[in-house]
Symmetry: C2
Subunit: 321 residues, 2 copies
């Protein structure tokens, strides 16, 4: 299999919200894109979605030569994938459907073309099991709106060639994304497991009559949400620990893991887990002290607060009389 | 009890990270603040923390007459709370300690002074049980850094006077905060339950060897974190549902709640829960269509991406060779 191939021709199969997001991103970065979707009216809906996304993409900055006109819809799967160097599949999240569509892509594509699935939950080993060339298959799971959010989870299956993962990451970086390679296959990958935990807790709070949907949203937006655009949960708590960082934080708040907060049972906070978490934060922070990170966080939050005050989506007070 | 009292004198009891955050916020908004903390070196540490916070507070804009010099440390609880109209307690999170400190505050403060505790987990009915004037006691739980993040959860106990909650919210709004009144007492209130669910899932992922702390943080920062500074989980999913909003979203992704994503068991998605969630989102959106909200979200994300690219705390690629 040829290494360091050049990826010029991109085909997107399935043009719902996620497929259209990929198309808009690739076009804005100056790629030719072929789209395939047998649904009636698909092309019209996609072109409308691209028009909608384009305003934001122009504001972010288009690549030289980028054009909405470099999108072609093609009527058969066979023709749509024939010339593709990279194919992104985005059909509905049903294992049988995905396997059947991926089987067709695999049949008609060049053997060296990379095939990626946007699946949010199914592991790649399952999806690649019937392919003729399973080594070129990966999961590449993006986040809505795909044309703006940088994250893409990249997961290989048991048969995936490691070089394919690397090449796909190269492509994603070229289109201004942040590829996160997940090294262990689990249902829901990593990001959706985290989001689902928050989402399920939110549903419990509403179900138990503790808070309304609006109150849950408020509890996120005006607090932790402001921090999470810059720092994840681990670095956030590293800063909460003061000068000693995560080490102090786990000593002080570790016991709270046993408290009946959330419906989610915590893992046992063993010494091994503690060390893994502390070491992870310290290595990530590198030579930046907690004070350095706090300084950066504050600069960021000041600018972010100016920005979000303009865009928080509600206007009425949440204080009930 | 006098209604619509004027709150002029503020006392902060306990000057750790949270207490100091409150002091900085009140000073920046032009209040006189008295602080009490018997720990050796407390005043020096607090003044240093205020200096540190002040740069950001100046950037956000100080109130007329605001000054770091309007903070006085006083050596006894009795004197420290004697003149206070509002007292914020921030001692370590231990029920016995908090009850003892709150008992002293209650003893020495004017009967009409409002007493608030920063407790992140203990319910107000427990904390007010031994007070002489329990009706003026509330939980007011802020988020780190308190001088920048707007959210404060306000919770009354069984004996709390509803008018006190309203007056406290008035004060919090005056100091540029977003009070969220929680109507049902539960351990951890609302925001920390949501954060803890994410945090526990993150610890499980690290414990199970699925992801490193850095990978977990990346999975949040570059994806959902960017959305959560503007929209909570409910409105986010309202937009993911397309034109039909949350109604379509629950139909399409409702079954995924049964999937083994996250260690958190989901609530049964009954018709009653569905309707509560849909109605909540639709009422919150008001006359804004999903397309309107998407437009606003995109404008926000474009500006946010420009900003965060400067401040994301890591520089090295996460793609492993």
């Amino acid at each position: 299999m040829a290494m360091n191939r050049t990826i010029n021709n991109i085909t997107v199969v399935g043009t719902g919200v996620i497929g259209n997001g990929w198309i808009a991103r690739f076009l804005a970065q100056g790629y030719d894109v072929v789209a395939f979707d047998p649904a009636v009216g698909a092309e019209e809906r996609t072109r409308k979605a691209i028009d909608h996304a384009w305003t934001s993409l122009e504001q972010r900055g288009l690549a030289l030569g980028a054009s909405k006109d470099r999108l072609r819809f093609i009527n058969t799967m066979e023709e749509a994938v024939a010339e593709a160097d990279f194919i992104q599949e985005n059909v509905p999240e049903r294992e049988d459907l995905k396997k059947s569509v991926l089987g067709n892509i695999d049949r008609y594509a060049k053997p060296e073309a990379i095939i990626a699935s946007s699946t949010s939950g199914i592991i790649p080993t399952t999806l690649q099991s019937n392919l003729q060339y399973p080594e070129r298959f990966i999961v590449a799971h993006p986040f809505n709106p795909v044309y703006l959010l940088p994250l893409v989870e990249v997961v290989g299956g048991e048969s995936t060639d490691a070089a394919i993962i690397k090449e796909a990451c190269g492509l994603f970086e070229k289109v201004a994304m942040k590829p996160l390679v997940i090294h262990k296959e689990i249902d829901g990958h990593v990001a959706d497991r985290l989001m689902e935990a928050l989402w399920r807790e939110a549903l419990h709070l509403v179900n138990d009559g503790v808070a309304t949907t609006e109150e849950v949203d408020t509890a996120i937006i005006y607090g932790a949400g402001l921090r999470w655009a810059q720092m994840g949960p681990f670095l956030t708590f590293h800063l909460a620990g003061g000068e000693q960082g995560m080490r102090h934080m786990l000593e002080q708040f570790g016991p709270a893991l046993k408290l009946p907060w959330t419906k989610l049972k915590a893992p046992e906070l063993t010494d091994a887990l503690k060390e893994r978490v502390i070491e992870g934060c310290e290595s990530y922070a590198g030579n930046q002290s907690v004070a350095d990170l706090e300084h950066k966080r504050n600069e960021f939050l000041v600018k972010l607060l100016d920005l979000v005050e303009e865009y928080w989506p509600e206007s009425k007070s949440l204080v009930k009389e």
